[in-house]
Amino acid sequence: MDNGMINQIILVTDGQSNIGGDPALAAYEAASQGIIVNAIGIIDPSSVGMQEIKDIAKAGNGQYQLVQIEDLASSMVLVTHQSVQATLEQIVSSQLKQLIGSEVGDISPKKRGKVFEFIERLQDEIALKCLILTDTSGSMSNKLQAARESIISLFKSLEIRSGKNLIGVMSFPNGSSGYTKIISPFTDNCSELEDELLKLQPSGNTPTAPALRAAISYFLQTKEDNNGLLEQFVV
């Protein structure tokens, strides 16, 4: 259990992908690799394509939220915790099924308490590796300061857990040529992250699908020697 780690991507975007294929398919690929994809849609008067946000989260086995930019931080905190909890519930449930042939739901509600206490403890102790994949295309340009602050706010929120946290930030697109850019490598150091976040700058198109795929391969590249619990059970 101790070397188990939860891998998740938080996609932040205010628009519809317009280049590079179907992002929900890319999210599905992530989920098959044991990486949860949560999606946050920033609503503004010009925003379209919010259905895509729901499809991405659904395919990515994650949570989604549609929010105003002021609520980006609180929604990042919420989706992170909710998806960790939901994932642990799934893992524990399938482990129970392997062990005793019944899932959490097969135990009567009165007797579930012990299982939930176990999940709650895991939630606090499990290591979490979280990549924030943020859209920096034109329309996001006036929201990047809020995005920076929200990422720091998420970091400070997660620090309270007793488990290890690694947070990385990737942006898309990368200028007019590339799809993604690593803004900050995975780190558990807040001031390091704060410095790196200054590199978050606006530019170009919205290639959501290729960006998700780049995020997946970045996860695989930075994989530590953990037999991620998730990879075993969530497909």
């Binding site: 949570q63 002021e70 609520d71 931080a73 609180s74 989706v79 739901g105 509600p109 929120s157 309270i160």
Partner: protein, 290 residues
């Protein structure tokens, strides 16, 4: 990963307790849950059904509501059970359906201090019970507080954000979150709730919402000075170690602060009235001349 939307007439049957409900309409929707108004087919009563895909958090909510419902600070909870919707199991709580207005409706104009203080006192007691049992409410906001006119009481709804003391705050609304104002952490403790409650009192008195991404924290403190509301200031600056200290200070506000201003006005009206009365007597004395 969301609970499917149910249409009116849809029948929900409990897996364990075998109770049956017929959906009437949707009351609300959150990230992992939906709340429906439904008819309990046996008793014929209307109930609120909260259906969630997150079993552990709904279970916690159920336990917390049981703590508070004995004192009528939360809806009565009838049962927790599972139901199958489109081939998948969900968890639900059946609870009392409360008709009333949320405090959100009240925040268009300043509320009379006396009313605001009594609302806050109710909530403080409810939070006190939660704290005593090791929970922090966290997501305190006007939308989660209902004024039940029929039974003239204040009821807290939605305990989805409540967590064990010491763990991290999962659900919050920036204006009520001390960390968004840059003056504290999101570790759930008593002063986290007291901060939110003090902010709520401030907002009720002023009749407008604040915004931490547009306003400075010290300005709110300054405004609490203008209102002569010491408990707000102490609550926002996290000077209380438990909610009962806050409660006692709020309770003693009756004879201080804003009310003092009213007393002054009342006194001056009285003085004027007496002088007019005396004037009339003197005049009458002179006219009649006895």
């Amino acid at each position: 990963m969301t609970v499917p939307k149910l249409t009116a007439g849809y029948e929900v049957t409990g897996r364990w307790n075998k109770k049956k409900y017929a959906v009437i309409s949707q009351l609300g929707k959150g990230g992992t849950a939906r709340v429906y108004l439904a008819l309990d087919k046996v008793s014929g009563n209307n109930v609120a059904l909260k259906i969630s895909e997150n079993f552990s958090s709904l279970n916690r909510e159920y336990n917390i509501m049981r703590l508070l419902s004995a004192n009528k600070f939360s809806p009565q909870v009838y049962e927790i059970d599972d139901c199958k919707i489109m081939g998948k199991f969900y968890n639900y709580i059946a609870m009392e359906y409360i008709q009333g207005t949320t405090l959100k409706m009240l925040i268009n104009q300043p509320i009379e201090p006396k009313t605001a203080l009594s609302i806050i006192k109710f909530i403080a007691i409810a939070l006190g019970i939660l704290h005593k049992n090791g929970y922090i409410y966290c997501d305190l906001k006007p939308e989660n507080i209902i004024y039940d006119k029929r039974k003239s009481r204040i009821v807290l709804i939605d305990f989805g954000g409540a967590v064990k003391k010491g763990s991290c705050v999962v659900e919050y609304t920036p204006v009520f979150d001390r960390s968004s104002w840059g003056i504290g952490t999101r570790r759930a403790d008593e002063s986290y709730d007291i901060f939110a409650l003090s902010m709520l009192l401030m907002i009720l008195l002023k009749g407008e919402l604040y915004n931490p991404s547009k306003q400075e924290f010290y300005k709110i403190i300054k405004e609490s000075d203008v209102l002569k509301m010491e408990p707000i200031k102490k609550g926002l600056l996290m000077k209380y170690s438990n909610i009962w200290e806050f409660y006692r200070d709020i309770k003693s506000m009756k004879n201080t602060g804003l009310n003092k201003e009213y007393d002054k006005i009342l006194n001056s009206i009285l003085v004027i009235a007496i002088s007019i009365f005396l004037g009339i007597i003197i005049a009458a004395y002179k006219i009649i001349g006895f």
